[in-house]
Symmetry: C2
Subunit: 219 residues, 2 copies
Amino acid sequence: MDSDNDQQVSPTNRTRLRRLPKRGHYDRDTICAILDAGVVAHVAGMTEDGPITLPMAYGRINDTLYIHGSSRNALINALDGSDCCLTVTHVDGLVMARSAFHHSMNFRCVVVRGTARLVDGDEKAAGLKAVVNHVAPRWDGSRPPTDAEMALTSVLALPLSESSAKIRTGDPSDDTDDLAGPWWAGVIPVRTVFGEPQDAKDLPPGRPVPTALRNLAKR
Amino acid sequence: MDSDNDQQVSPTNRTRLRRLPKRGHYDRDTICAILDAGVVAHVAGMTEDGPITLPMAYGRINDTLYIHGSSRNALINALDGSDCCLTVTHVDGLVMARSAFHHSMNFRCVVVRGTARLVDGDEKAAGLKAVVNHVAPRWDGSRPPTDAEMALTSVLALPLSESSAKIRTGDPSDDTDDLAGPWWAGVIPVRTVFGEPQDAKDLPPGRPVPTALRNLAKR
């Protein structure tokens, strides 16, 4: 998906990390690797009922993220032309410190801020394909959408131009005075794993699981 | 944590599901079970830089959720007294349909909307303990916070009174005309798993991993 990988995304005043700035990353490779490894994003926008954040599937083509939803979805429609935030988080570990205060998590997180816009035509078709193919290469193994299905679906584009990554790795950071104390300290790894694909109950015989889907379990 | 389990949370106009209402749940047991099984929430609020959503640890005591952060954290401070949204999502499966259009995910999601408020004194201490103990029972196995550490930490409370759950389970819902088609269809299970706890590199000998932490890997 990458056409030009050695770029930095210039942090803006609202994407530059203020708390613990050493955990901030603004290079495109780091940001895209975190996005590409995610399953769902949490997308936030302002509605007449207040701020809301909902999980959504997403896809990426170069420097643009795509999300989709029913053309009658209230949040999707509220986001068009509006300021929004899209966040993808991986929890990699529970960081168990000596002190309650220094408990933490290891994680990789990307925050994208910007204005989403509804797209149409070729960009809509490409965006939808990117969303379907994001977690598993699936577009070519399924029936393409009809015109009626396309009309029922809205696709929004969000540029990566205002984005940042925040990453924590490694051991707890305990106070020196606590290091010899009686408490256990360490990290409990956390992972998202994919299982063996399960046939739909109404699947006729002779439709084997595509290899690419079976391979997700080996990740 | 439950004192009274047979309650319904009355849906309000902004928590009642409008799209696919059959997937909506408003009973307290369902909502709390999804919250209790989560690792991080995505919390959304409106800041002067626009809407934002960030991952946060959280805890629950009866009908109240607690989140915490540095007393200098911009979002934590923006949320006090403000309308916010807290969302916890579990992805349980990738739903691979015959048609691109019917691809979906199996998931459990809780959305809580309401006004967060900073808490102090006994409620702050109890809320912080609930956050630390949320994923792993850890408070009693670590050094309690000092007064100075408490002063560096802010704790916000958010009531569950306006909350809803949305759940999708099971096979793809393909169109009848597609059922006999050539495509594979089914579900790829997705799970979050905890690994074996890893000692911190600077852990002195004679501090065994607490059993409750080792047991997370058996979940």
